[in-house]
């Protein structure tokens, strides 16, 4: 495999050179392309605001391209451009008995990233080095040590690009395939291999790639991969140290987008037809649910395929304030593994499919968007793991987020809804309205309102069971004190209604009020069942601006949640800012409604920003979720201790 990969790289490089020579187009070709880009830019701008100063003309671009060339020639010593960033997130942990937090060995964790990119004309090369002397609590332990998991070399002109090495990619909305990075979630699924993209006169866009998905800190040639079917004894005991080994996966994909609006020269309309194909090659499957070992021939009657073909078809249409997007995904036969930890008997060989409809309309200050999505057996892993019952954050082939509002106020987001990629149907609708300045409600500075509604059901799987509840949401028991079960089918999983009002009363006082109602099917491990919980969250966020430099922000939150185990919460935050460099804050979240665990989640911190550096230091007891303070927002897992977060970009 290693040799094959190297040979592949050599072939691609040779191809690259060949293409480079043949693509030395005359100047006219290049300016033509600038022309079409300029048209695009202009139409986007003029669609929104005819009086905008943002329009870019064809002539401007051509002139600028000429200037650019001139400047580069005259400088003589132009050696290219180097840019990059460094980020560290380091925590000193403290033992915290009341909430049961036990720090890891050495009481610390540290995630570090160094990214460097070099550009010279159409060429670029770059790397990302990652260093985890001990990964932060809450992140996957497989991130360990120092490594160079991301290295690439690429070349592009206006018509095509070629990349050898690592890259990120996404087809459509990502329902079929997405390779991406999210450091705060501890996720990186970059592909290492080769990719070519073509843009033919803005009419047809083609992407094609082949490569190995990233597997934490392992290199593709690592000996911890296994290329052969493992040996078993007659009792299904494993002979090799197989638990540490994984099958190598190779992905190949093709994505084509055809612009009908460009072909038919439809002005003001934007209309594309798109399609993708994805092939996953995973040579074998092996699993150890519980203590029983399975051999490939034992699994689903030995019919587990090594090749999985999937596809998607998409339509995108936009005209003035209206837009519509449709996506259908068909996923090849794979072992379906329910995300809710259901029994092994439910692991079946099934095809998957998904439908996504996204509509939006806007006019004046009103804007409405609606989404519908249906998922059936869509969970798709990049690597098949020996231990497939564990969750691997960084192992998803496709991107299936919960289509609900991602709240950032801690009590509104206290228990967010998690999508069930194998079985879900539902949708959401968002309405934004801005009362303009000078209207009765708008006043001098306008008034912004936003409302969102979402609802999701379990739909397609008929064999799931859940606990029956009465109209108050309390579980129903039979005469033997056993919970009464009912079919999972058409079970409400999540429903939410949230609205917020945002108003600047004066130049120095702004306030936001939010109310959120959430009904959520929550799993109760003790009863091995689920019940519906209802929550009401209230938020008041106020900013007082004393001068151009000094401001104060306060946040008050209350969560009314009588049916949940944790009952009611309240929270407050006080943040003092000295623009543009300093910010200090103190906050507390208090679980006052829980008679067994009245815990304070307190925090204090300071953040400093200057030029290319941002440093933030905080101490406290942190509950998992978004932390929006000191001028930025980031997701963090639960911990107690001191956190240093430093970013440098250049």
């Amino acid at each position: 495999m290693n040799k094959k990969a190297i040979a592949g790289a050599v072939v691609i490089s040779a191809l690259l050179v060949a293409v480079r020579v043949s693509a030395s187009e005359p100047e006219t070709g290049i300016s033509q392309d600038y022309g079409t880009l300029a048209d695009g830019a202009q139409s986007a701008v003029s669609a929104g605001n005819p009086a905008s100063a943002n329009s870019i003309s064809y002539a401007d671009l051509e002139k600028n391209a000429a200037k650019d060339t001139e400047r580069k020639k005259s400088s003589g010593k132009y050696l290219g451009q180097l840019s990059g960033s460094f980020e560290t997130n380091t925590i000193h942990y403290v033992e915290d008995n009341p909430i049961g937090f036990i720090p890891p060995e050495g009481n610390y964790g540290s995630n570090n990233y160094l990214k460097l990119d070099y550009n010279y004309k159409g060429f670029s090369a770059g790397l990302q080095a990652e260093w985890y002397p001990q990964v932060l609590q809450g992140y996957d332990r497989q991130f360990k040590g120092l490594g160079l998991p991301f290295l690439y070399l690429s070349w592009q002109n206006d018509f095509m690009s070629a990349t050898v090495g690592s890259f990120y990619e996404q087809f459509g909305s990502g329902l079929l395939f997405r390779a991406w990075e999210d450091r705060t979630l501890g996720l990186n699924t970059a592909i290492t291999g080769a990719r070519l993209t073509f843009n033919i006169k803005d009419l047809v866009n083609i992407k094609v790639f082949s490569g190995l998905p990233r597997d934490y800190m392992k290199y593709p040639w690592s000996s911890s991969y296994m290329n052969y079917v493992p040996a078993f004894t007659e009792d299904m005991d494993v002979i090799d140290d197989i638990n540490t080994k994984t099958a190598r996966t190779v992905l190949t994909g093709l994505d084509v987008s055809f612009s009908l609006s460009e072909a038919l020269k439809l002005e003001d309309h934007y209309f594309t037809v798109e399609g993708s194909l994805l092939h996953k090659y995973s040579p074998w499957i092996w699993s150890s649910p519980g203590t029983t070992y399975y051999y490939i021939s034992e699994y689903a009657g030995g019919k587990v395929p090594s090749n999985v073909f999937s596809y998607s078809a998409r339509l995108n249409y936009a005209y003035k304030g209206f837009s519509a997007n449709f996506e259908y995904v068909g996923k090849g036969k794979e072992i379906v593994r329910p995300t809710d930890g259901a029994s092994d008997a439910e692991n079946l060989l099934k095809r998957g499919n998904a439908q996504l409809i996204d509509l939006s309309y806007s006019t004046g200050g009103l804007s409405v968007s609606a989404m519908f999505r249906r998922l059936e057996n869509m969970r798709s892993d990049m690597y098949r793991r020996p231990d497939q019952t564990s969750s691997y954050t960084s192992n998803s082939l496709n991107y299936i987020p919960s289509l609900t509002t991602q709240h950032t106020y801690s009590l509104v987001a206290i228990e967010p809804y998690n999508v069930n990629a194998n079985d879900e149907i539902g949708g959401q609708i968002d309405v934004f309205y801005q009362f303009r300045r000078g209207t009765a409600l708008g006043g001098k500075r306008g008034l912004k309102v936003h409302a969102t509604f979402s609802t999701y059901y379990a739909n397609s799987l008929k064999d799931g069971l859940t606990m029956a509840t009465d109209e108050t949401g309390a579980p129903i028991y039979d005469d033997n004190f056993m919970p009464v079960l009912k079919s999972y089918n058409n079970q409400l999983m999540y429903r939410e209604f949230t609205f917020d009002i945002d108003k600047s009363f004066t130049k120095s006082f702004q306030a936001l009020f939010m109310y959120s109602y959430q009904k959520h099917l929550v799993h109760i491990p003790d009863l091995a069942t689920n019940h519906l919980e209802e929550r009401h969250a209230f938020v008041l966020d106020m900013t007082f601006k004393f001068s151009r430099k000094y401001s104060l922000r306060t946040e008050f939150q209350y969560l009314y949640s009588p049916l949940s185990e944790d009952k009611d919460w309240c929270a407050a935050l006080l943040e003092f800012n000295m623009a543009p460099k300093w910010s200090i804050y103190v906050s507390d979240m208090f679980n006052h409604g829980n008679p067994d665990a009245k815990h304070h989640y307190y925090q204090a911190g300071v953040a400093f920003t200057h030029s290319i550096v941002r440093a933030a230091l905080s101490y406290g007891r942190v509950k998992e979720g978004y932390i929006c303070s000191g001028g930025v927002c980031r997701f963090t897992p639960a911990y107690t201790g001191a956190n240093l977060s430093l970013t440098v970009r250049f």
């Binding site: 132009y78 934004f432 929006c628």
Partner: protein, 163 residues
Amino acid sequence: MKKLLILTIALLSFNFAFAQQLPSVSVEQQNGESINVTSLIDGETPMIVSFWSTTCKPCIKELDAIYEAMPDWLDETDFRMVAVSIDDARSVARARSMAEARGWASDFTALYDINQDFKRALNVNLTPQVFIFDKDGNQVYSHTGYLPGSESELIEKLIEISE
């Protein structure tokens, strides 16, 4: 790690251009159509480029503040405002709607960096992140985070480069 440091220092000691230019990456416009970021360079007016997302409250505050101040700023110097949403498939529809309702889609150039290629190319780790690019697309200012009042640095810098 040591090797890495040596390599970094060696690279840094070369005579590279550090003032980063607008990279050649493709993003989506308000209607979903693709556009290459370099086509925004017009050789005449500088631009503010602000990275935001629907889950970033300070970003929304910053864009609102710029939106509010923009008519006054344009009296002082000519510039363009580019708002780049880094929302992915989960929330990009919400981002587009929000940009429409808040007036950003019409008064700014609203771009959508759905798989975050533009964000990565400019080494943006945290949002809000704001840049000023001069008329030729050279980066002349950058700032991470937003605190009420921070925006006044933007107009000061724009006036400075126009002189």
